[in-house]
């Protein structure tokens, strides 16, 4: 059965990291450190979440001399609801034991 979009283990990890501080903007590198993900996995996911309307982005003003602006991220209102549901679903799946298969020829 195909998985719902944006409910991969990587997406769940990003949601968990972003839900820790929903009111704060987070840098990409900060999310990488929180999730242990590599940039090659994280950024395509952030792009997809942004395109789905679950993530909002902003450019921050430089916080020091010689520093450039940085892109920061946080969940939208819709994204926060979606993330909570996705995490709850993932947790429920993890605690549900797999259905046992009956051996062939076994009587019910």
């Amino acid at each position: 059965m195909p998985r719902r979009p944006n409910t991969s283990p990587q997406a769940i990890a990003v949601f968990s990291a972003l839900l820790e501080r929903t009111d704060q903007w987070r840098h990409g590198y900060d999310i990488m450190q929180a999730t242990g993900m590599k940039s090659g996995t994280l950024y395509p996911l952030l792009i997809r979440l942004h395109e789905s309307g679950l993530l909002e982005t902003e450019w921050t003003t430089p916080d020091g001399v010689g520093r450039g602006p940085r892109h920061v991220y946080r969940l939208t209102h819709e994204g926060t609801i979606f993330a909570r549901c996705a995490i709850a679903d993932a947790a429920a799946k993890a605690t549900t034991p797999p259905a046992k298969l009956k051996p062939l020829g076994a009587s019910s």
Binding site: Y29, S39, T57, R70, H71
Partner: protein, 192 residues
Amino acid sequence: MNGMNRRAIANAVAGRFAGLMPAKYADWALAMESECKAIRNPDEANRFAFGGLWTCFKQRSCEMEFRLKIGHYGLIGGQMLLAAFAIVGAVGNWAVHQPTAFVYVALSFAFGICGLVGLLRGTRAMFFSAGTLFFASLIALATVNTPWALGQGWVNMPLYRALAIEGVVIWATLAVVAAALLTWSYRETASR
């Protein structure tokens, strides 16, 4: 390699993001570049930069135009590879049986020229050259099965027949793939 060199590599790689990323994700390319520059540890910055490069490639590979290019150059590369294999066959047969070596040389030329035509003139020209060589292979296959050819007493007749069949299959495949690339390309152009 010292930290400054590693940092320079990371910055150089990050500087390529904007050119590699599809135009609609230009903002994301800038975002990754600025993030990479903000990372203090040069090793971390390097890892980030190469991951960013992979992101650009991933996003680019979602575009039909890029896939068509990959298909086009894949066809050319495949033909060049077949030309090289034919040259190896020619070299291997040179001392044993020269006519067979000449057949391999001719095959190598055919693959090489078809590939070059694709490289210089595009997919459409490659479709026509593959189509022409497909019909040439059909004629060759028919010829090796004629009573005249069978009466010539060629020692490598089964090999010539196999090469003719191989030519029919390979050039038919190339022509079909080139036609598919052309069709997708037209559809892509029409949808814009």
